[in-house]
Point group: C2
């Protein structure tokens, strides 16, 4: 059994860990290959079934895992007494327990084994070994020593001697370091162990740490060779240590090694998860600054597009490439935070569309362009979607855009008591679409890191399962949409920060959102007759704020364009 | 250990099962008494801590169970090797497992034992033995044989031979019977076993079933003496039967008896729960009719109150008594569906206020009266709250009432796709209060039965945990409120039916609510300047509908009063 994700539970592993792609050809971000002696199968979710059919040889039977789970398939093709090997480093405890339940009933066992793809992969690329670099205190806002002290206090409260930090973004946050091990996210793929005094063992090749990084990490952070991790875990066990581990994100390998060696495991959510999600004032200021500079690039792109469109044919790739040029002009820009989605006409309705030479198409009059993109800046991560009309939009375009906009505004202006979860607020963004029997088949908001992952937990805004309480300092996207298959897609995405408001009755903490994304919306798509005065006021105030923030960084022509685009609607 | 609820898991047990009240004096609807050899304690939730202090002798230490759980208290006062007896008939599996977890760690065991209160209760009232009566097909809309067939099919699908129906309201629904075993709900306290052919064993004294009931039940329903239940369960076990049981509502006694005898238990939600909640067209028509007749009584009461108030002093008890007189005039009325809450001024802020001779107070000018009441009618169960101004309301009264009303309207007019849960919609009712830093500390809506419980599951509308999907035919309350301690309470409660709407995009099922409660709202409390035109239109249409439904059943004076109260606001 081989899932797409790797030992860091990342959907986007580095080349050396794209085992399923090497084995089967499948390049999607979720799925699992199962190889028996005489049969093999590939399981993906509904988003990827077409892609799997195109990419994967007929040797593999292909299934939608929502319709047939891998373990159900195994019970059909394996029998009593058979053993299925799995690499314990790439399965969580929950995954193995779920599969074991079905298989045990049929007398099939799951057996931990070395990774079988690795044993036959001859020309496997080497592991990423980008140099680590310091994430400056000017951007992180809190010294690593202070973060480590906070985590150590939490370990004490849990009665744990040490905690295992298995998520690479948590390691980066904790130590104020970054790397370039994967695309789109400035990660160091590394694991750390922190004890209740705040001392850390960081498992990363010492050759990747220069003098500056070593100086930054200081004497309380010991750099250990990655291949000593197992031995160090075993030592914890032999010493009878109580070890905190997050069963939702750590692979089952950790608990197997620790338990076997005699450690007592204390299951608790990754201790860095919440402090990382709740940005400090320095991070929030950086995020706001990054969004204004990002907004300059987006505004320049939109202005360029409007001019260019009259001069020559413009393609989706042109838009994507030009946007990167504008973003790259900023000296704090590092890379896109994900592959740009530039979906014109029917491509806009494909939620995870990615433009390529093969799919590239020319923008046409009367169509919509959905442009979802973002940047990694030293001071923050951006993620923005703008939907713009190429030429004149249709009546239907405007009706749907306005319903999406009303939902976006309802969420942006929501006030709510401390203790509220994202799933409680989700309906605010959907209600005006629902009134017309319309909906969108994705979440309304995801957490975003600070010069880290463009998707981070625990906060999110979705129909269900958004059980994490929203807390001041969290960054979320606000991105309702509407998609008409084969025709067009609409999404309005701004990032918002959860902010403290005037206290509620009885002195209770009350929260709201402050929009940080700063780029103009397209007024041609707004049907003002569907909007209340309060909604129009919000729209006009937002556009005026965008104009005031961006104008000084634009040339005269762009400035004029922005003024026209930001003119108040009535 | 003795909880307040009884073997039917009811909060409102009959006199013979009010064991905690007999033992300790505590008369609240939730709590638990624990008696050790040298110490005793009573645990209640936050609603009842003051009441427990007043009612219960100092022999019992009193605790808020949210702050100190009974099992935590036990670990302090009992030690390794001690055994705590519990009556397995009044604890669910989940309750025992939760407590056992804490106690086992301290070496304390929980031991099933006969009920120790029963063994010492000398003058215990006899068990209720009200005659059963048939719930006519004209009200139930589906023959019991048809219901039994549907449940039998579900048993087949689960691979179960029989199912245990432990909830009395499920037994009543399944067999189209009712009784008067408890106040406010027309229940027969009985258990049933149904097999996969639809045959039923009903455990109830045969003396309670007259010829009409026997004829109604027919040959497929065997009446068994209640004291044979254990033996019948054991027979199922000995025969190796697969038995469906709902671990959330059945006491642990059932699984203990069945498992010991060798039965295989299939855990699944009470099979009657959903079909009972999704009312058929006959039930819905009856419910609408009952609400119109109930609305006549409420309108007469409100008109009487407005006249009476100028003539003499009116008390809360006067209001409650007079309302019962108006309701009782209907020949289909059986009894109130719960004790009337008539809370004037500061009493309105006590969410579970119950007027008594001791608390009774005279209504005063400038105050609000919160009147929450309901009736059991042969064709439906009602539950309505009206808040009315006595004399002129204050500016604050009107602001708060209007915010509650806006939330009530937002929920009443919501449209949503099939698959939506109540917790997804809850925020719609709270949003306008939240905008002002205000909230209410109770759920927004609960399910209601048809001539059955005024609270029923699985559907509800609440901040969290309303995980049951809303389905066409379900009845729910829509009851946002606002409470200012020591000053006043506001609640606007109508019952609504979940109804199918025009299909959504792609032919998806789309749902909405139809308000069935039919009684005038108080326009004096509305600040129209805070309302949108859509909201004012809803309010005026509702009031006009109420007027058209009720006028013919009122006398000339009342009709004139209603016309004035239902005049459109601008």
């Amino acid at each position: 059994m081989q899932p797409v994700h790797d030992e860091y539970m990342s959907e986007y592993p580095p080349a050396c860990n794209r085992r399923v792609e090497w084995l089967t050809g499948f390049s999607g971000s979720a799925g699992m290959a199962v190889v028996l002696i005489e049969k093999a199968a590939l399981f993906t979710d509904g988003r990827y079934t077409l892609q799997a059919d195109m990419e994967v040889d007929a040797v593999y039977a292909k299934y939608n895992s929502g319709e047939l789970a891998p373990e159900a398939w195994i019970t059909k093709h394996a029998g009593k007494g058979d053993a299925i090997g799995y690499d314990p480093k790439i399965f969580t405890q929950a995954m193995i327990q779920r599969m074991q339940k079905t298989l045990t009933a049929k007398g099939i066992t799951l057996t931990p084994s070395p990774n079988m793809v690795d044993t036959i992969w001859q020309d496997r690329p080497s592991a990423p070994a980008s140099p680590l670099f310091v994430h400056d205190i000017a951007y992180s806002g809190e010294e690593s020593s202070s973060k480590r002290k906070r985590i150590a206090e939490q370990l004490e409260m849990l009665g744990a001697d040490v905690g295992i930090v298995t998520a690479p973004d948590a390691v980066c946050w904790l130590l104020n370091i970054r790397g370039r091990d994967v695309e789109n996210t400035p990660l160091v793929l590394a694991t750390a162990i922190i004890d209740s005094h705040g001392h850390v063992q960081l498992f990363v090749a010492s050759s990747r740490c220069d003098a500056q990084v070593r100086g930054h990490l200081g004497s309380d952070v010991e750099i250990c060779a990655p291949n000593t991790l197992e031995q160090k875990l075993a030592q914890l066990g032999k010493a009878g240590r109580r070890v905190q581990l997050d069963p939702a994100s750590a692979s089952i390998w950790f608990s197997q090694v620790l338990t076997k060696a005699g450690a007592k495991i204390i299951e608790a959510q990754d201790l860095c998860l919440l402090p990382k999600a709740m940005k400090n004032p320095v991070e929030l200021a950086g995020i706001c600054n990054a969004h204004i500079r990002d907004g300059v690039a987006v505004a320049k792109l939109l202005c360029w597009l409007e001019g260019e469109f009259y001069v020559r044919e413009v393609t989706e790739l042109d838009v994507s490439d030009k946007l990167l040029v504008f973003r790259a002009a900023d000296r704090m820009f590092v890379e896109p935070s994900f592959p740009t989605i530039a979906g014109s006409g029917p491509h806009g309705a494909i939620v995870h569309y990615r433009v390529s030479e093969e799919t590239n198409r020319v923008l046409k009059k009367g169509e919509l362009l959905l442009l979802d993109s973002g940047g990694q800046y030293l001071d923050g991560t951006t993620d923005i979607t703008r939907t713009v009309a190429i030429g004149e939009p249709s009546r239907e375009h405007r009706d749907r855009f306005t319903r999406v906009l009303k939902g976006h505004i309802a969420l942006a202006t929501a006030l709510f008591p401390q203790g509220t979860t994202g799933s409680q607020l989700d309906v605010l963004a959907r209600q005006y679409l629902w009134q017309s029997g319309l909906d969108y088949d994705h979440g309304t908001g995801h957490g975003v890191g600070c010069f880290l992952g463009v998707h981070e937990g625990p906060q999110r805004i979705s129909k269900r399962g958004g059980d994490a309480v929203l807390q001041a300092g969290m960054i979320l996207s606000n991105e309702p949409g509407y998609y008409k298959a084969g025709a067009y897609g609409i999404r309005i995405e701004n990032l918002v920060a959860v902010t403290r408001q005037a206290h509620g009755e009885g002195g209770k903490d009350w929260l709201g959102f402050e929009t940080v994304t700063c780029a103009p919306l397209d007024p041609k798509l707004v049907d003002a007759s569907l909007m209340t005065q309060v909604e129009k006021d919000w729209f006009n105030a937002y556009q005026a704020w965008v104009q005031s923030c961006l104008s000084d960084s634009l040339d005269a022509h762009e400035r004029q364009w922005l003024a026209a685009r930001c003119a108040a609607i009535r």
